[in-house]
Symmetry: C2
Subunit: 194 residues, 2 copies
Amino acid sequence: MGNRIITISREFGSGGRTIGRETAQKLGIPCYDEAIIEKIAEESGFSREYIKERGEYTPSASWIGNALAGRDFNGYSPSDQLWTVQSNIITELARKSSCVIVGRCTDYVLKDKADCLTVFIHASMEKRAERIVRVYGESNETPQKRLKDKDKRRRAYYQMYTDTEWGIARNYHIALDSGVLGIEKCVEIIFGLY
Amino acid sequence: MGNRIITISREFGSGGRTIGRETAQKLGIPCYDEAIIEKIAEESGFSREYIKERGEYTPSASWIGNALAGRDFNGYSPSDQLWTVQSNIITELARKSSCVIVGRCTDYVLKDKADCLTVFIHASMEKRAERIVRVYGESNETPQKRLKDKDKRRRAYYQMYTDTEWGIARNYHIALDSGVLGIEKCVEIIFGLY
């Protein structure tokens, strides 16, 4: 039997990463999240910070300027280069073994390439705000502002590289509100679908 | 304990109605779908055909013309009147007992009024096309054309009366692809969340 991949797309602060990790643990298969950043860093020379930030988000300010900056004569930017390396690594991981992969447009990258269960995790602004303060600590900006900014840039990144809208129910096999259902219930449901 | 309502929004041909009915049966609670049409007919005087068609869909052609037609001096159209009767009946049913309600923007109507589990059921165009021919038979139009028309008008209706976009993952507690997961699995998951 071929490999089976669970792809987890998630709103920032929804606990999608935890759900991915716990589901993988229950299934006894690897979960790739931070490990992908390491692999991309090794293969590309990009810094971990750049990969973390630009492998899922459009730049925060002066979008057009940033998007055009640093393009080579073919119009190929560092961000495009990162997308290519990232996509190749994701495809390679899916070929190697069954696994859970969190974020990085994996659902799109593996479309028609692997047997995937595509998952989207979301939660209300209130639940996510509470969670990011608990998990990542306070910052100068309000949690609401941080979430809005992350949502906007993640949506734009997804749209830019996949030409598909982010967070539309029909693009995923299952979408779950982790704030209402709870992390454990989400893990249980995804586990039961594998 | 108060009543618990399962609201099922669905793409046409996705089997959402069957999922609602089977979940209700398993839970031993009523499922309202066609019964709502009967109730609306009794209370409003609208014909069953009009209710069926205009309680979930915008008119098929000449949208602006139709939307404006028949408005009284307050700008209140027959469609608005149907919306009001329909919303009142849905609210009344939710007050009476725990139940499953299929379609008719129930998730929006009961927002902040009842303890709801909001579900969205969708499936690929191919799966739905195959299903509508099997369930509703052939027609003069291709199944794809029928689905596109229904999708468009149902989305427009939802948007018009709720000012919210239809089919966005974050608007539902759970969204399921019945074509990939299968009707039975969807019933099992919803049953497990009740």
